[in-house]
Symmetry: C2
Subunit: 266 residues, 2 copies
């Protein structure tokens, strides 16, 4: 029952991490965690604090083990879990690195639209608009913003094989993206998350997508050259940081006659 609170003779893992221990004595729900999970949390906090930049190497397992006063195997298990969540990348002979948003990651982890022939490509993007303004209620809700917060809104059309197939609306808090509206349209890259990382030190770690079928509205009909009321696949995504804090709200409406959204289950 008292397991895993303190294992090493010395406090091990200091940093005020055992935050759940109460002095109230009785029947407290035990939020004790195995050592390797406590280590994992400590490393996660450092990731969230940007202690190391994306792409940078973490200290070696041995060094971390010394710092935390645990065995190397325990650190390994913590790092393995983080690697399983794609938060760090491990490379034999080189080291453990903070995960980065590469084109490969965009394609295989964050973009699930695949051609009906099985082809996987990132669509080209054409910017329509990029401007800031007071956040609307829905935007505040999705991004957990206060009532006077401002946001930056980006709209673009994305094409696969030179055919426009997606109308995309993106919304991010202006506070975390100072100067985004000043960026020249040509500067806004196709894969935004790497851009967020490099330009604004904002790291997207997770995302949740919600899909519906909708009818194309007048603008979508025009932009995608569709018949009136054509069915579109709406993908609404909320992208989250390391602490699951919402960072970006995105709505993509996709013409899926020649492509589909692919998902693997177990």
């Amino acid at each position: 029952m008292l397991a895993y609170a303190f294992v090493a003779q010395t406090p091990a893992v200091d940093e005020a991490m055992i935050s759940g221990i109460e002095q109230a004595g009785i029947e407290q729900a035990p939020n004790f965690q195995p050592l390797y999970r406590q280590i994992r949390l400590l490393i996660l906090k450092r990731l969230a604090k940007n202690t190391w930049r994306p792409g940078e190497m973490l200290p070696s397992e041995t060094k971390l083990a010394q710092q935390f006063r645990v065995s190397q195997g325990t650190v390994r298990k913590a790092l393995d879990e983080l690697a399983g969540q794609n938060l760090v990348v491990r490379q034999q002979g080189k080291g453990t690195f903070v995960a980065q948003h590469t084109p490969h990651r965009a394609l295989f982890h964050f973009f699930h639209l695949v051609g009906d022939d099985g082809s996987r490509k990132l669509p080209e993007s054409r910017l329509i608009s990029c401007a800031s303004g007071r956040a609307e209620p829905r935007e505040r809700e999705c991004l957990a913003l206060s009532s006077r917060a401002h946001v930056v809104r980006i709209r673009r059309v994305r094409s696969l094989d030179a055919t426009p197939v997606i109308v995309e609306s993106i919304c991010v808090p202006a506070a975390q993206f100072q100067g985004l509206t000043d960026a020249s349209p040509a500067e806004l890259p196709n894969t935004l998350y790497a851009f967020y990382e490099q330009r604004f030190q904002v790291v997207i770690a997770h995302a949740v997508e919600r899909l519906k079928a909708v009818s194309a509205n007048a603008e979508e009909v025009r932009l995608l050259k569709l018949p009136r009321g054509a069915p579109l696949l709406e993908i609404e995504r909320i992208a989250l940081g390391h602490e699951h804090n919402p960072i970006e709200w995105r709505r993509s409406r996709c013409h899926t006659d020649n492509c589909h959204y692919l998902n693997e289950l177990d």
Copy 2:
């Protein structure tokens, strides 16, 4: 370079498992695997062979380690990977069990439609038809069947909160499901995969889903009480066995005004 082929003094892991070793000497692409992966494959083969039934307990780590002549930690790592794929379930103090299709698994791993209010429910099913016939080309393609194979086709309407929202077509090879058409309609349960397991010893281990937006056809309009041409979310699923052999082809067309398909990314 020669690592991991044989580690223990005795051959360890017999069963003719090192199938990739060629007598041709030079520059063979090494399909050497770490020991724990070889162990994992052996256990996987036993799962595929139905050596143990779903829900049954596997031998303990210690016993498996003795059988395979490796250390318990190596078996543990193999089992951990299998547990990560939801192919086995580990329970402290009890044992390791072959994964089963429970209502919980259906709801959280195989059914991604969620109410817009966040509610997760399995929809009720009403059977429309269940009959067998010669497999059509598309069915043969999806299920990897020969040209004279027969299939069983099931159609049903599924309702959330007493509102019909899904029209579902299911197709399985008749050969693996002898007597399915004789089953009384009342006997066909809402969650089919548990039924497949228990009645036909057919185990669904994975699945791939492809989503599109489509327009409701006349029948769907009637069954779901929709306006003509209403947009529907089409979910096409191919369910696979342990060896990734296709077992079921399913197409669900969903009315998503009050629900959505939920997917989490990393």
